[in-house]
């Protein structure tokens, strides 16, 4: 009884809280310093910005079958096909309006040629809505996922770059660690 009373008067529970927060001040900070110094490297299962794969000869894999465009629940993909000089059907236009994309992965799953894939990209902020509409050219440039088990799922040291090509964060490869 008296003990409880004294605890109330001298705010004992608050004192306990202060002890806890005092100790927390000396713990290691868990923040990832993105975009200034560090960057997250996703796992290979990560469903990021799409890319178009090419085969060993550097030839586009896509045969413009339009299955991806058809299954996409958000109507992201627009395809126009033509027949190239070898008589193969190829896309003349392959456009993805990624503002609408839900990254559900259906297009990747349905593709018979493994042409469209999810990549590692997650930085595509832009000053214009058109920046998120990816043409075939852009889709070919996008980066595939990291497959090296040493590298994926790590925090890599990086540089923040702002120049005439836009703003981006690039790994400088100096350091990487697992955040847990």
């Amino acid at each position: 009884m008296l003990k409880d009373f004294l605890k109330t008067v001298f705010l004992w529970d608050l004192v306990q809280g202060m002890r806890l927060t005092f100790r927390y001040q000396f713990k290691k900070v868990v923040t990832m310093h993105y975009p200034d110094k560090e960057k997250w490297v996703p796992y290979d299962r990560f469903r990021g910005l799409h890319y178009q794969a090419v085969d060993e000869e550097g030839e586009l894999k896509c045969v413009a079958c339009e299955l991806c465009a058809r299954i996409c629940p958000a109507g992201v993909i627009t395809i126009e096909a033509y027949e190239d000089d070898k008589g193969v059907r190829r896309p003349s236009v392959y456009e993805m309006d990624l503002h609408r994309c839900a990254y559900c992965g259906l297009c990747v799953e349905v593709c018979p040629e493994d042409a469209i894939n999810h990549g590692a990209g997650y930085e595509f902020a832009g000053f214009d809505r058109a920046d998120a509409v990816m043409s075939l050219e852009k889709l070919l440039k996008n980066k595939p996922n990291e497959t090296d088990p040493e590298k994926m799922g790590t925090v890599a040291s990086a540089r923040f770059i702002r120049d005439k090509d836009g703003i981006r964060v690039e790994e400088d490869g100096k350091k990487r660690y697992r955040w847990w």
């Binding site: 608050l14 202060m18 927390y24 713990k27 900070v29 923040t31």
Partner: protein, 331 residues
């Protein structure tokens, strides 16, 4: 005689300017410090991007606030609305006049220093009430009313706490109070055989006076928007923030003087260190206490706040005065 008078005036003006400059200058580094402490308590780094470890962040913030539009809401009482932030800030600057920073560094050594400090400190609440009233907004008005209620309940407790100290020193003069605590930390008023209970009451009341967590119900974001400064923007808002920091600094300084032995050194062999260093260290420690608690404790509910004030602190204060009287009385 003439020359002496001129130099006297010069010194008073110089010291006053210095005190004002300190109070205006300190909140900048303190906002940075507070955010850093907040960060590390929450296991994150706090401001990092502007300057080395974010030291220039307060300047960026100040610049931003300076460039903001100064909005006066329709239906507001224009004069009161504009005057309120100054009214909140000036008393805390005035408090510093009476606080002795060392045996020589003070603006004025008043014989009624403690009374002056309590009286002036109580004035600043008018700034908050005025701000709340003049804004023509229900949230601001409620915030102002809460501030008034809080001030009334906690001024009393704070007064009782200070009475204990005055009884120990047998004087209202701040220098005398410091001198009474001379001779090592065992003589400080914070020690259990002196005025530990008064210190506790003083600090709780001080948190309430400064409107800091856990007693920041006048601005209670959860229920009142931003309380009394809901309608303020730009520089006027910054002045309210400045007033909060000034309050924190002056209450810390006051606690250092009244309970932590002011500018006296904690142990005899450290006497050669100038008094002002001790004073600054003690004040900084108290400021740290303010920041540390801010990121530890939740806000008190309004009725809990009143219960704590009237049912615990004031009886405790009275008991403390009576017990102190028993020991101090000269038969």
């Amino acid at each position: 005689m003439e020359a002496l008078l001129a130099s006297d005036i010069f010194w008073v003006v110089f010291k006053s300017f210095l005190a004002v400059a300190i109070i205006f200058g300190l909140p900048l580094p303190f906002t940075w410090l507070e955010r850093k402490i907040a960060g590390h308590i929450q296991v994150r780094p706090g401001p990092m991007r502007v300057g080395f470890h974010g030291v220039l962040q307060p300047i960026a913030d100040g610049l931003k606030l300076f460039l903001k539009e100064d909005i006066i809401p329709t239906g507001a009482d224009k004069f009161l609305f504009k005057a309120a932030p100054f009214m909140a800030l000036i008393p805390y600057i005035a408090i510093f006049v009476a606080i002795p920073m060392s045996d020589e560094a003070y603006v004025s050594n008043m014989d009624i220093g403690v009374l002056y400090v309590l009286a002036i400190g109580g004035l600043s609440i008018y700034g908050i009430i005025m701000g709340g009233w003049a804004s023509n907004s229900k949230y601001a008005l409620l915030g102002g009313l809460r501030a008034a209620a809080q001030m009334i309940s906690y001024e009393v407790a704070m007064g009782f706490a200070v009475i204990g100290v005055i009884m120990m020193a047998q004087s209202l003069n701040m220098q005398d109070i410091v001198l009474a605590q001379q001779g090592g930390f065992l003589n400080w008023n914070i020690m259990p055989h002196k005025q530990l209970i008064a210190f506790f009451i003083f600090m709780v009341a001080g948190f309430a006076e400064a409107n800091r967590i856990p007693f920041d119900i006048p601005e209670g974001e959860g229920e009142l928007g931003a309380g009394f400064h809901t309608e303020y923007s730009g520089m006027r808002f910054a002045l309210f923030a400045l007033a909060e920091y000034a309050a924190m600094i002056s209450i810390s300084a006051l606690a250092a003087v009244l309970f932590l032995g002011g500018w006296t050194s904690p142990v005899g062999f450290l006497d050669f260190v100038p008094g002002i260093v001790w004073f600054v260290l003690k004040t900084l420690f108290m400021v740290y206490l303010f920041m540390w608690t801010r990121f530890t404790w939740p806000r008190y509910r309004y009725d809990q706040l009143m219960t704590l004030g009237w049912k615990f602190l004031i009886p405790l204060g009275v008991a403390n005065v009576l017990i102190t009287g028993l020991f101090v009385i000269d038969f």
